[in-house]
C-alpha cells in the first residue's frame, strides 16, 4: 500500500462542499489539467486533499465515465459533482471544467480564420491532424490487443469499421445492431469462462 493511503477518507469522514467550493475546484482542474492528466488531478482535489468522495466512489465513477458515452473527464466531473451536491453540483462541475478549454479552442478558431489565407497554415494543420490520427491509431491498437479473442468480437469490430469507415453508413443504425450483439457475446462468454 502507498503511504498516502491514510489520507483517503472513510465514508463517515466525508464532507459536503458548498457550490462555490465545487465551482472553484473544478475551474482549477479545468485550467491546470491542460495536456491531459485530468483524472489524477481530480483524484487529488476531491479525494486526497478534500474529503468529498471515498476512494471506492471515485473508482466507481471512473468506471462509469469510461463505459458510458461522452468525454471521459467530463463524465467524471459530472459524477463527482452529482455525488457531492446533486443536480446543481453536477451542472456546475461540468460547466466550469469545460469553460476554460472552450475559451482556448475558440481563440484558436479565431486565429485560424485570420491565418487561413496562408498556405503554411494548412500544411502545419495537416501535420497536426496526422499526429492526432496517430494518437487514435496507437490507442486503437492498444485497445484491440486487450479485447477478447474470438470470432464474434473480431466480426463485430471489423463490421463496425467497414460499415462506418468504408461504407459511410450512419452511426445510429450500426450501433443499434452492434452494441446489443456485442453485449450478448460478452454475456455468453462470461458464462463460458465461469464454467471453465
Amino acid at each position: 500500500m502507498k503511504p498516502d493511503q491514510a489520507k483517503k477518507p472513510e465514508q463517515s469522514q466525508l464532507v459536503r462542499p458548498t457550490l462555490l467550493e465545487l465551482l472553484i475546484v473544478f475551474l482549477k482542474i479545468g485550467v491546470f489539467s491542460f495536456g491531459g492528466g485530468t483524472r489524477p488531478m481530480m483524484h487529488r482535489e476531491t479525494v486526497e486533499n478534500r474529503p468529498w468522495l471515498s476512494e471506492k466512489d471515485f473508482l466507481a465513477g471512473f468506471a462509469i465515465a469510461q463505459v458510458l458515452p461522452g468525454a471521459n473527464p467530463v463524465n467524471l466531473a459530472m459524477y463527482i459533482g452529482l455525488r457531492a451536491r446533486g443536480a446543481m453540483g453536477a451542472a456546475i462541475a461540468v460547466f466550469t471544467m469545460i469553460a476554460p478549454a472552450f475559451c482556448i479552442i475558440m481563440a484558436m478558431g479565431f486565429a485560424y480564420q485570420g491565418l487561413t489565407g496562408y498556405p503554411a497554415t494548412h500544411f502545419v494543420l495537416a501535420g497536426v491532424a496526422g499526429a492526432g490520427v496517430s494518437a487514435t491509431l496507437a490507442t486503437g491498437i492498444k485497445v484491440t490487443r486487450n479485447l477478447d479473442r474470438n470470432w464474434m468480437t473480431a466480426i463485430i469490430g471489423l463490421g463496425v469499421f467497414v460499415a462506418v469507415g468504408i461504407f459511410h453508413i450512419s452511426m445510429v443504425p450500426v450501433v443499434i445492431v452492434a452494441i446489443p450483439a456485442s453485449i450478448a457475446t460478452a454475456w455468453y462468454l462470461d458464462r463460458e469462462t465461469r464454467r471453465g
Binding site: G30, F34, G35, G36, A63, I64, A65, V67, L68, P69, A71, P73, V74, M78, V94, A101, F102, I104, I105, M106, G109, Y112, P119, A120, T121, H122, F123, L125, A126, G127, V128, A129, G130, A131, G132, V133, S134, A135, T136, A138, T144, L147, I156, G157, G159, V160, F161, V164, G165, S170, M171, V172, V175, A178, S182, I183, A186, W187, L189, D190
Partner: protein
C-alpha cells in the same frame, strides 16, 4: 434561416453525443460524414483543419463541436453545438450513475463493459480512416503518420508534445520550401 442552422447543429450533435462511446474519437467518422457530405457545412479539407485544431487544443476532443458550430452559425452556434454534444451524454451519465451504484458487481455490468470494446475499436479506426482519406497524401504526410504512430505506440511520449513537435517540424519544412505543391 438562422433558426434552421441551430436546429441542424442540434440534429447532428445530439445523437452523436449519445453515441460517443469511449469519447470524442469514436464519432469523428460520422461527424465528418454529416457535416461535409450530408449538410454541406464544410469541405473535407476544412473539417480536417478544424479536427487538427481540436487535437492541438486542451480539453476533450468533443470540443470540435464548438469550432463547427462557430463556422456554421457564429458564436451562438458554438454554444448551441456544445450544449448539443454535452447535455445528452451528461443526462445519461446522471441517471446511469445512480443505477450503477446500486448494482455493484453483476454479469450484466461485466458484459456491458467488455461488450463495448469491439464497437469502440471499430469506431476509432473508422474515425482515423475518415481523416486520412481527406488528407493530402504526400511523402511527408505519410511518413509523419507512420513515425508518430510508432512513437506513440512504443513509447510513453505525450500526444500533446507530439502535436507541438510535429507543428514546429511542419512549419520548418514549409519555410525551407516543402509544402503540398
Amino acid at each position: 434561416m438562422d433558426d434552421n442552422r441551430y436546429i441542424g447543429l442540434i440534429a447532428v450533435f445530439a445523437p452523436l453525443s449519445i453515441l460517443s462511446f469511449g469519447g470524442g474519437q469514436a464519432i469523428v467518422a460520422d461527424m465528418q460524414h454529416q457535416t461535409v457530405d450530408v449538410w454541406n457545412w464544410l469541405t473535407g479539407a476544412q473539417f480536417n483543419d478544424l479536427y487538427a485544431i481540436s487535437r492541438a487544443a486542451p480539453g476533450p476532443a468533443t470540443l470540435i463541436a464548438a469550432l463547427i458550430g462557430y463556422h456554421v452559425a457564429g458564436f451562438l452556434g458554438s454554444i448551441v453545438a456544445c450544449l448539443a454534444i454535452y447535455i445528452p451524454s451528461s443526462v445519461l451519465v446522471y441517471y446511469a450513475a445512480s443505477w450503477w451504484q446500486k448494482h455493484p458487481e453483476s454479469r450484466l455490468k461485466r458484459s456491458f463493459e467488455r461488450g463495448l470494446g469491439p464497437v469502440a475499436v471499430g469506431l476509432l479506426f473508422a474515425g482515423a480512416l475518415a481523416i486520412i482519406e481527406s488528407s493530402p497524401m504526400t511523402i511527408v504526410t505519410v511518413l509523419n503518420l507512420f513515425v508518430c504512430t510508432a512513437i506513440l505506440y512504443f513509447t510513453k511520449f505525450s500526444p500533446y508534445k507530439m502535436v507541438g513537435v510535429v507543428a514546429l517540424t511542419f512549419y520548418a519544412l514549409h519555410t525551407v520550401g516543402f509544402g503540398f505543391a
